[in-house]
C-alpha cells in the first residue's frame, strides 16, 4: 500500500462560525473548527449530536445558514459538492446498484468529462491499490459488505481528492471486518497523506484512527484533542463518561480545604487530593471524582488503601478481567489481570492512582 501515485496533498479545512438550521430548529450554531492539512480528524459523539450534519455541511450536501467553510483556503460555503475537491464514503456504501464496480468507481470521472482511456487507467490503478481488481466486473449485489465498502472507498479515492469524508463507514459491518477495515483506513491515510474527516459513534475507531478527536454533543463541541488527551484529561463529565469501556468510575462528594490540604470527601471516604494538578485549584464545593478502571488497583498486604468494598461481579475478557465492587460511595469497576483476580463476595481494598484521576465541578460538569 505504499506507492499510490497521488497527485494532491492534504488540504486544510476551516470552519468558522457555522450555523445550520432545519426549519426553525438550530442544529448547529456558531461552530468553529480548524483542520490541519493531512490530519485525520474524528468527529465523535452519540447519535443526534450533529456530527453527520457537520460532515454533510463540509461536503456541501446541506445548506449552511451562517458562517463559512473553506478548503485549502478557498471559500466553498456555497460551492457544489463536486467543486470542493472531496471524496466521500457513506455508511450504507451507496454504490450504484445497476453499475459494475468499475463503472461505480469511474462514474464521477465520466461525469467530469474525462477521456475513457484515462478513466480506465485510473480505475485500474486504484483497484490494484485496494486489491479490487478481480471484482471490477461485478455488480454491488454480488459483493460482501466489506468488499462493497472497499469499492466505496475506491470510488472516493479514484477522484484524487484532497479531502476524504467518512460518514460512519464501518457501522454496517460485523466486528471482525470492522477491525480489518479500520486498519486498512489507517494505512490508507498513512500512504496518502490526505486530510480525512471521519464521523463515528464508536470510540475504538476514534481512539485508533484519529490524530485529533472532536467530541460533540447537542451540536456543540465538547473537547478537541489528541486521543490520549481526550481519554486522560476529559474536559467535562460528558466526555469522561462517553469514552472508555467500562465507563470511568464517578464518585460523588465534595472538595474542601482542610488545614492547608485539599480533601475530597464522600460517603465513607476521605482522599487527600492536594497532589492533583487542577486548572482551578481554589475550588471548593460539590465535586465528582473520576477514576478510570485501570487507575484502581487492589492494595497489597500492608499498603494503604483508602477504598474498600465487596466484589459483586467479575468479567474475564481473556487478556484482562473487569472486577466490579460495591463501595459506600457507589459501584466501581477495576481493570485487573487475566489471573489471580478476586471472586464475588471477596473483600477488596483498593488503591486509586490519583495522579491520573479527574475532578469535575458537579454544578457545571467541567473539569477542575
Amino acid at each position: 500500500m505504499k506507492d499510490f501515485p497521488h497527485a494532491s496533498e492534504g488540504a486544510a479545512i476551516g470552519i468558522d462560525g457555522l450555523g445550520i438550521r432545519f426549519g426553525h430548529h438550530d442544529v448547529i450554531s456558531d461552530l468553529s473548527l480548524d483542520i490541519l492539512p493531512g490530519e485525520f480528524l474524528v468527529l465523535l459523539g452519540p447519535s443526534g449530536c450533529g456530527k453527520s450534519t457537520l460532515l454533510n455541511a463540509v461536503a456541501g450536501l446541506i445548506d449552511v445558514h451562517a458562517g463559512t467553510i473553506s478548503i485549502s483556503g478557498r471559500d466553498v460555503t456555497r460551492a457544489e459538492p463536486k467543486d470542493r475537491g472531496i471524496g466521500m464514503v457513506f455508511q450504507s456504501y451507496a454504490l450504484y446498484p445497476r453499475m459494475s464496480v468499475a463503472q461505480n468507481m469511474g462514474f464521477g470521472l465520466r461525469v467530469g468529462g474525462m477521456a475513457k482511456a484515462e478513466i480506465a487507467e485510473r480505475v485500474q490503478r486504484t483497484a490494484k491499490f485496494l486489491q479490487l481488481e478481480s471484482l471490477l466486473g461485478r455488480r454491488p449485489a454480488d459483493l460482501s459488505g466489506g468488499q462493497r465498502q472497499r469499492v466505496a472507498i475506491g470510488r472516493a479515492l479514484v477522484r484524487d481528492a484532497e479531502v476524504f469524508l467518512f460518514d460512519e463507514p464501518l457501522s454496517n459491518l460485523d466486528a471482525q471486518l470492522r477491525a480489518d477495515l479500520r486498519v486498512e483506513i489507517k494505512r490508507l491515510h498513512q500512504s496518502l497523506g490526505s486530510t480525512m474527516l471521519y464521523v463515528t459513534h464508536d470510540q475504538v475507531e476514534a481512539m485508533t484512527l484519529a490524530d485529533r478527536i472532536v467530541v460533540m454533543k447537542g451540536g456543540e463541541i465538547q473537547q478537541i484533542g489528541a486521543p490520549a488527551e481526550i481519554y486522560g484529561r476529559p474536559a467535562n463529565l460528558f466526555v469522561a463518561g462517553f469514552l472508555g469501556t467500562p465507563k470511568m468510575n464517578f464518585l460523588e462528594g465534595d472538595v474542601a480545604a482542610e488545614s492547608g490540604r485539599r480533601m475530597f470527601r464522600a460517603e465513607g471516604l476521605r482522599l487527600d487530593v492536594t497532589g492533583m494538578l487542577l486548572d482551578n485549584p481554589d475550588f471548593a464545593g460539590p465535586a465528582t471524582l473520576g477514576l478510570r478502571p485501570e487507575d484502581l488497583s487492589p492494595a497489597g498486604p500492608g499498603e494503604e488503601a483508602p477504598l474498600a468494598g465487596e466484589v459483586t461481579l467479575t468479567e474475564p475478557l481473556g487478556p484482562e478481567t473487569i472486577v466490579w465492587a460495591a463501595l459506600g460511595a457507589g459501584q466501581v469497576s477495576l481493570r485487573m489481570g487475566a489471573e489471580n483476580f478476586p471472586a464475588p463476595g471477596d473483600r477488596l481494598h483498593i488503591r486509586p492512582d490519583l495522579a491520573r484521576a479527574s475532578l469535575f465541578d458537579r454544578a457545571t460538569g467541567r473539569r477542575l
Binding site: N56, A59, G60, L61, E80, P81, K82, I86, G87, M88, F90, Q91, S92, Y93, A94, L95, Y96, P97, R98, M99, F107, G108, V111, G112, P140, A141, R148, A152, R155, R159, D167
Partner: protein, 285 residues
C-alpha cells in the same frame, strides 16, 4: 390427513372452483358463440359447444362489420387505439417517473403541497373536468385530434403514475443521491444513469396500469379523439349498436373479444413482473 382437514380441503376446492367457474363462464359463452354461425346461435343453447367451429365471425368483426355507416370492421379502431395508447403510456409513465423522482429524492420547496394537490386531482371524478376541458381544447384547436386525446390521457394518468413512482423512490437511501451529487451528477444525470436503471419493476407496473386503462377507455376517446381517431372501444360500441335486421351475436362476441385481447395479453404475459413490481420495495444497494 385426518377427516376434518380433508373436509376443510374439499370445501376450499369447491369454493375456489365455483368462483373460477363464475368468472370463466361468460368468457366461455363469448368464445363459443363467436365460433358459431348465426343459424347455430339461434338454434342451440348458449352453453353448447360449437358443432362446426368457424372463424367467419372474427373475420367479419375485424374487417367488414358496420359501425354506423362505415362497414370496415374494427381494424381501423385497433390501429387508432394503438397510436393513442403507445404515446400516452410512454409519456404518462415518463412524466410520472420524473415527478416521483423530484418529489421523493429532491427536497423541492412545497413538494408536499404539490403532491397533495395532484392527489386531489386524482380523486375527483374526471367527468367533472370534461366540459371545461373540451371547451379549452376547442379554444386552442386541440379538440377532435390525436394530440388532444393523448394529452388528456397523459394529464389524467399523471397523478397515479406520480404516486406509484414517488412511493417506490421513497425507499431509495438518501446516501445514494448524496454519493451521486459528490460525483458531480445533476438532476437529469442522476435520474437517467442511477435512478432509472433501478426502476424496471416499477416501470412495468406503471406501464401495465396505464396501458390497460388507456386501451379500455371509452369516454375520452369518444369526446376528444374525433372521427378519424376513434379508438377500438368507441367503434365497438358503434358496431354493437348498429342494427340492420337480426343482431349478429357471433360477430359482436368476436368484436368484443378482439377489443379485450390486448389488455388480456398484457396481463397474461406480464403477470409475474406485475406481482414482483408491486411487491418490490427499494432495491438494496
Amino acid at each position: 390427513m385426518d377427516g376434518n382437514r380433508l373436509i376443510g380441503r374439499a370445501g376450499l376446492w369447491a369454493f375456489t372452483g365455483l368462483a373460477a367457474l363464475f368468472f370463466l363462464l361468460p368468457l366461455y359463452v363469448m368464445v363459443a358463440t363467436s365460433l358459431k354461425t348465426m343459424p347455430e346461435v339461434r338454434d342451440s343453447s348458449i352453453f353448447a359447444l360449437p358443432l362446426a367451429p368457424t372463424i367467419g365471425p372474427w373475420v367479419e368483426a375485424w374487417s367488414h362489420a358496420c359501425s354506423g355507416q362505415v362497414c370496415e370492421g374494427l381494424k381501423a379502431g385497433f390501429w387508432n387505439s394503438v397510436i393513442i395508447t403507445v404515446p400516452s403510456v410512454l409519456l404518462s409513465v415518463l412524466i410520472g417517473a420524473v415527478n416521483g423522482y423530484a418529489l421523493a429524492l429532491w427536497r423541492a420547496r412545497f413538494a408536499e403541497a404539490m403532491f397533495a394537490i395532484m392527489l386531489v386531482g386524482a380523486f375527483i371524478p374526471y367527468q367533472l373536468f370534461i366540459y371545461p376541458l373540451a371547451l379549452s381544447f376547442s379554444a386552442v384547436g386541440l379538440n377532435s385530434s390525436l394530440p388532444g386525446v393523448i394529452l388528456v390521457h397523459v394529464i389524467f394518468g399523471m397523478p397515479v403514475t406520480t404516486l406509484i413512482f414517488r412511493n417506490f423512490y421513497s425507499g431509495i437511501p438518501v446516501d445514494l443521491m448524496n454519493a451521486a451529487r459528490v460525483d458531480g451528477a445533476g438532476f437529469w444525470r442522476i435520474f437517467g444513469e442511477v435512478i432509472l436503471p433501478m426502476s424496471t419493476p416499477i416501470i412495468v407496473v406503471a406501464v401495465i396500469l396505464q396501458a390497460t386503462g388507456i386501451w379500455n377507455d371509452y369516454l375520452f376517446g369518444l369526446i376528444f379523439a374525433g372521427r378519424e381517431h376513434q379508438p377500438m372501444t368507441v367503434q365497438l360500441m358503434g358496431l354493437v349498436n348498429t342494427r340492420m335486421g337480426e343482431r349478429p351475436y357471433n360477430v359482436h362476441m368476436a368484436a368484443t373479444l378482439l377489443t379485450g385481447i390486448v389488455p388480456l395479453a398484457i396481463y397474461l404475459l406480464s403477470g409475474r413482473w406485475f406481482v414482483r413490481g408491486i411487491a418490490a420495495g427499494a432495491v438494496k444497494g
